[in-house]
């Protein structure tokens, strides 16, 4: 199968880890990494792997549209918002890993096929990718009886770079929107904790839900447990170390579900599950685009 050519915009932790993942992919070929600083370790790695690289950032990509088919935007919310219309004008598909939310939100296990018709899809946030499948399950089982959904994520301080730290508010807002959209529940809240403990902690995400008071106390917990187990297995197909550590449990009048995400350790250490999950999800989305492109070509 002819591989889909991808450009990686942003040579920080996310972009560099994505580079390593793309090189393993059977359907994607990373053709260029674009960063902003000559000294960026990510650009050095790209060069070392024989992948074209440039420190002239997005401008370099905009000048060479013939070189790639799809862009992973790993910059920042503000930058992604600015570049989006430019890539659209060039007819390039963008998978946005920032909280910019220019295009619709993509959670591969739930909507990868629907996302194929959009030029720009947003990968929500790391906490969003971890929690939205669970929030969806809550919505499916409880419908209108799901009154409120909250997600709390803890990540290792070391895994939170300057962009994450400067974008906390955007992280919160985007995650909350994602929870609302996929669960059908309009009251949502997202919290992010950074923990400096050594050895570094893996990403841990807890989804808490409040149900309508009319429901019996343990109403439908069995159905929820089964659905959560299924969806966790489905997420595991593209996030191998996505693990359910506390199945749906009623505690203090709220439902509690907890997952832990360990990374693959491709570029960053394995504790950075938060970066890994959004990259795995972005990769899954890109591979779906690649598959569709291959189908389109073969049916021409």
């Amino acid at each position: 199968m002819k591989k889909l050519r991808v450009a990686i915009l942003g040579s920080g932790n996310i972009g560099t880890d994505l580079l390593v993942k793309c090189r393993r992919s059977t359907s994607l070929e990373p053709v260029v990494v674009a960063g902003r600083r000559k000294e960026s370790p990510g650009l050095c790695l790209a060069a070392g792997l024989g992948v074209d690289m440039t420190w002239h950032g997005v401008e370099a990509l905009l000048c060479t549209p013939e070189a790639y088919d799809l862009v992973f935007d790993c910059t920042s919310a503000a930058d992604a918002k600015e570049s989006a219309p430019k890539f659209k004008a060039l007819g390039k598909k963008v998978i946005d890993l920032t909280p910019a939310r220019v295009g619709p939100m993509a959670v591969p296990v739930l909507n990868r096929f629907d996302m194929l018709r959009h030029d720009n899809v947003n990968m929500v946030t790391c906490g969003g990718q971890a929690s939205i499948p669970l929030a969806w399950a809550l919505g499916k089982v409880y419908g209108r009886d799901l009154e409120y959904v909250e997600v709390v994520s803890s990540i290792a301080s070391k895994s939170a770079g300057p962009a994450t730290r400067a974008n906390l508010d955007e992280y919160i807002t985007t995650t909350e929107r994602g929870l609302a959209e996929f669960s059908g529940c309009h009251k949502t809240k997202a919290i992010l904790n950074l923990n400096p403990a050594a050895p570094c902690v893996d990403m841990q995400t807890t989804v808490l839900a409040r149900l309508s008071a009319d429901l019996p106390p343990h109403g439908n917990l069995k159905a929820l447990t089964r659905l959560v187990a299924d969806i966790v297995d489905d997420v595991k197909e593209y996030v191998p170390n996505y693990e359910l550590i506390v199945p749906p449990t009623m505690e203090g009048g709220r439902i509690v579900i907890m997952v832990r995400v360990r990374g693959l350790g491709d570029y960053l250490p394995a504790y950075a599950g938060n970066l890994d999950i959004i990259n795995c999800a972005a990769l899954a989305m890109a591979e779906e685009v690649a598959m569709q492109a291959a189908i389109d070509r073969s049916t021409k």
Partner: protein, 338 residues
């Protein structure tokens, strides 16, 4: 002579931890009137974990941030109105901006002690909008002295009007206070927020003053998270009316009112075994109630939960881990039973 020590009173914020965040607008109004009359310079109001923290994770408050701030703002004539805010829980748009609109004077932007850079955006926002911003380092025991200095300097660089060290676990002894305040010197004033898990909140606060801190937190009868805070009435009695600018007789009246207002009373008694163990493990004082609840729910000893949380170096805001630890301990218990 103007007072040289600024007493900041978070009875209506830290105290919320003590009663599951159930402080009402009416309690706020009445307590504010009383401390305003006593001349307490700063009165802090809100959910135990600050603006936007009402949640299933930390506990839902009896009334909204807006309701609490409106009640306080209306009742405070001379005293300044303060709030606590943790980036990662609260956002500028949803929580901070409306608080400034509601007339908040002082915003205490807080982070875990190693993560001061999370406070930058919020501090700058407050300063850009003409209010006072304090940078607050929570769980300040969880870092070395050199690192602490670095974090304090960051806050000062962001434009903070003061740097506040919190002894959130109540683990400090006076020598620790001296070392830590000594290591946190910047161009701006330093403050100290004590907790009483080891019965040392007052001694620590006096030591803080001796080392140059000019902002000291104290609550009515020590009303607050876990074993409670530094009792404000003892602070003022020790430091004096002239140094604090507070009328002691009127303060006593406010403190007695607090005892009647809050369910269970405001007075914090000698630290319980739970509080002492939590301090020994260096845990956030706000974990006290969730630990008790989880111990009961899962049928495991509190002390085991505490040990595990301490081992994992859990920080404020990670209350969900209490459930995970308790559930795991319960599972292990089940496996051991023949």
């Amino acid at each position: 002579m103007s007072p040289s020590i600024t007493i900041s009173d978070p009875t209506l914020r830290d105290g919320n931890h003590a009663i599951g965040h159930q402080i009402t607008a009416e309690m706020i109004r009445r307590y504010c009137e009383a401390v305003d009359a006593a001349g307490v310079p700063i009165v802090e109001v809100g959910h135990g974990n600050g603006l936007g923290a009402s949640s299933l994770q930390l506990g839902e408050s009896a009334c909204s941030d807006q309701e609490m701030l409106a009640a306080a703002r209306g009742a405070l004539k001379r005293s300044k109105l303060g709030v606590h805010i943790i980036p990662g829980f609260a956002t500028i748009d949803r929580d901070l901006a409306p608080a400034l609109d509601a007339g908040v004077d002082i915003v205490r932007v807080a982070s875990h002690v190693t993560e001061a850079d999370l406070c930058e955006r919020h501090i700058r926002y407050v300063k850009d909008h003409g209010r006072t911003a304090y940078g607050v380092l929570m769980m300040s025991h969880m870092i070395g002295l050199q690192g602490l200095g670095g974090q304090a300097r960051k806050l000062a660089d962001y434009g903070a009007d003061a740097v506040i060290l919190m002894d959130s676990a109540g683990i400090y002894k006076p020598i620790d206070v001296a070392e830590r305040i000594g290591s946190s010197q910047t161009a701006c004033p330093i403050g100290f927020h004590g907790h009483n898990n080891l019965g040392l909140a007052v001694a620590n606060s006096i030591e803080a003053v001796r080392c140059g801190a000019t902002i000291i937190d104290g609550t009515a009868r020590g009303f607050g998270a876990g074993a409670g805070n530094t009792p404000i009435e003892i602070l003022v009695a020790l430091l004096g009316e002239e140094q604090t600018g507070i009328d002691l007789a009127k303060l006593f009246a406010a403190v007695e009112l607090a005892d009647q207002l809050f369910p269970g009373g405001a007075v914090r008694t000698t630290p319980s075994p739970l509080s002492i163990c939590m301090a020994a493990a260096g845990l956030f004082s706000g974990f006290a109630k969730p630990i008790q609840r989880a111990a009961q729910r899962f049928g495991v000893p509190e002390i085991d939960i505490i040990a595990e949380l301490g081992q994992r170096q859990v920080v404020a805001g990670q209350e969900d881990l209490i459930v995970e630890v308790a559930a795991a301990l319960a599972d292990r218990q089940k496996d051991r039973v023949p």
